[in-house]
Symmetry: C2
Subunit: 342 residues, 2 copies
């Protein structure tokens, strides 16, 4: 069967590169014959590892890229300077249609900066949000923007809402996803000047299921399927998940070893508790897609292992099969028609 999608994978990015990136790629192609992966990075490091795995040879290739961008480097500067880095080469491949998607666990800042500077936005998209899947009491929600655009206009938030809806409906299978605007209260008149303006615009959107404002406490409680905010607020939300979760878990662990009685109790609940806590770990969910690009860029966690890499690659296939970018273009066309008064 002909492959349906070519995914460039950053073999050099992330704490566990290149091994886990390669392993995840092998798992993905072994699982699905419609995927072709091109590992981007230092060939002399990738080849010896890749040769240890068994997989259909025509489904994985290597594109040599001699440089590596570290997480310590200033993103925009690194992107401009290191033209032969795995991130720049991978994102250029998407731009030039050599690949449909690029998956990276490397420097978030560099991946995001490169996505807009190199891969580029769809015509009509004002800003491309990073969409991160976050756990809720009932499943997952998409947080857009989770950190790419820290200064936003109201019109950006409207596009985030529309793209987020398309993603949740067609990639995650949530029918008629509920869009909530992060605010300090549920009433329409609440909020700062940005969200007040955005509320007015979102209310008038016919193509999404806007449920109004959502207070932050309702986000983990599954109050919306698409959680819309600027990238500064989104980043705070994402990191509060991590922070509150990890401190609470540390405190619980300490409690469980505080006496002989609790130690015995701890043994009995240990495995069940571990599963529960894992299900509510924001880092457990796959890659974060950058929406609205000319192609697709997916950012996985810096500590991603093979499983997350594999899932992120499979996610690219769904994105492609569901023609997400065509659906985004449709609403952009509609926006243009409205603007032109047609």
């Amino acid at each position: 069967m002909q492959e349906k999608i070519i995914v460039a994978v950053d073999a050099m990015g992330g704490d566990n590169a290149p091994l886990e990136m390669i392993k995840g790629s092998v798992d993905a192609v072994n699982q699905n014959p419609q995927i072709r992966v091109i590992l981007v990075g230092q060939e002399e490091k990738i080849s010896p590892i890749l040769s240890q795995f068994t997989y259909p040879k025509d489904q994985i290739g290597i594109r040599n890229a001699t440089e590596v961008i570290s997480t310590e480097e200033t993103p925009v500067l690194a992107i401009r300077k290191k033209k032969d880095s795995s991130i720049v080469v991978g994102e250029r491949m998407v731009k030039e249609k050599e690949a449909d998607a690029f998956v990276s666990a490397g420097s978030t800042g560099a991946v995001l900066a490169g996505a807009s500077l190199i891969t580029g936005r769809l015509k009509g998209i004002e800003r491309t949000p990073l969409g991160t899947l976050i756990p809720t009491a009932k499943g997952v929600a998409l947080l857009a923007d989770s950190g790419a655009n820290v200064d936003c206009k109201a019109s950006y938030l409207v596009q985030f809402a529309k793209m987020g809806s398309i993603y949740m409906e067609h990639v995650m299978g949530v029918k008629n996803p509920r869009v909530g605007l992060v605010n300090i209260g549920v009433e329409e008149e609440k909020g700062n000047s940005l969200v007040k303006e955005a509320y007015g615009l979102l209310k008038d959107c016919q193509d999404i299921h806007f449920i109004g404002n959502i207070e932050a406490r309702e986000i983990p409680n599954a109050g919306a399927d698409v959680v819309v905010c600027d990238g500064f607020v989104g980043n705070v939300i994402l990191k509060m998940y991590e922070g509150v979760g990890s401190v609470l878990i540390k405190k619980i662990k300490k409690t469980l070893t505080s006496s002989l009685t609790t130690k015995i109790g701890a043994v009995l609940i240990k495995s069940a508790l571990k599963e529960t806590l894992k299900s509510f770990d924001a880092t457990e969910y796959g890659g974060a897609p950058m929406l609205g690009l000319n192609g697709l860029v997916v950012k996985t966690h810096g500590n991603a292992k093979a499983q997350e890499v594999r899932n992120s690659i499979l996610q690219c296939l769904t994105f492609q099969e569901q023609r997400i970018n065509d659906k985004i273009k449709e609403f952009l066309d509609q926006e243009r028609r409205i603007k032109d008064g047609i």
Copy 2:
């Protein structure tokens, strides 16, 4: 002994008014002879309840206020219309120096709006933040602003940082409190335009211990003693505490009853776990002071019971004894001198 402080207490505000407000007031005056409480609200409702308690009669009085502002009303409108409400009367008492402080569990919006419209700011204070004590892995931190000012200028954040430092040092007893600016990364160049500008100003402050940017994940981890941000972001932080905490606890409870083994384990850890979770509940900490007012207004939780009311009243005494407003005036004088080039 002469009383040191007069605290007006909103007898009508909150889910448990008037009973718990009265009970908390009685507890406070029984504990400390230097406090005089004036219960503000509908006398015919307050009197019969108050008469059931034992306390030094000269330490509690009643100020009749016939109207009540509900949480459903639009704050500013309610404050303007209901001139004889417990909130308006109580805040006017502070303005007119009939009371040193006002404590309310009523509508947050109305209490905050009234504080700046009626009680008024200290001369030189640009905006008055709501400072909320939040639990951390090692104790508590002060979040300022936690929701009063959703659109901020960089100069407001600087004043929040200074007032927050004074509060943490002199009311909470934290020596040389570390001030962190909420941002999406720790590097100086990170952030939106507001925090970038604020960073530059805070760096130059000699009178506070500014430790730079703090990522939201470090807030629960005790990364700073004074957490500075605009009121929109602060409100999101506060509500993420609540949201992540409550969903995680619900999930853990479900796990504990999932099998016979976990049920037995649950019995053994129950009380220790309960204590742990309580220590990390943002609603467990006393009232939130509004800083920079001509006097003091403290907002307690809507569901506050007697203990929180009592603690909030005692907190007002410390605020007074530590001459917090005099200390705030000192830095305002200094700011004025710098501005005038003296």
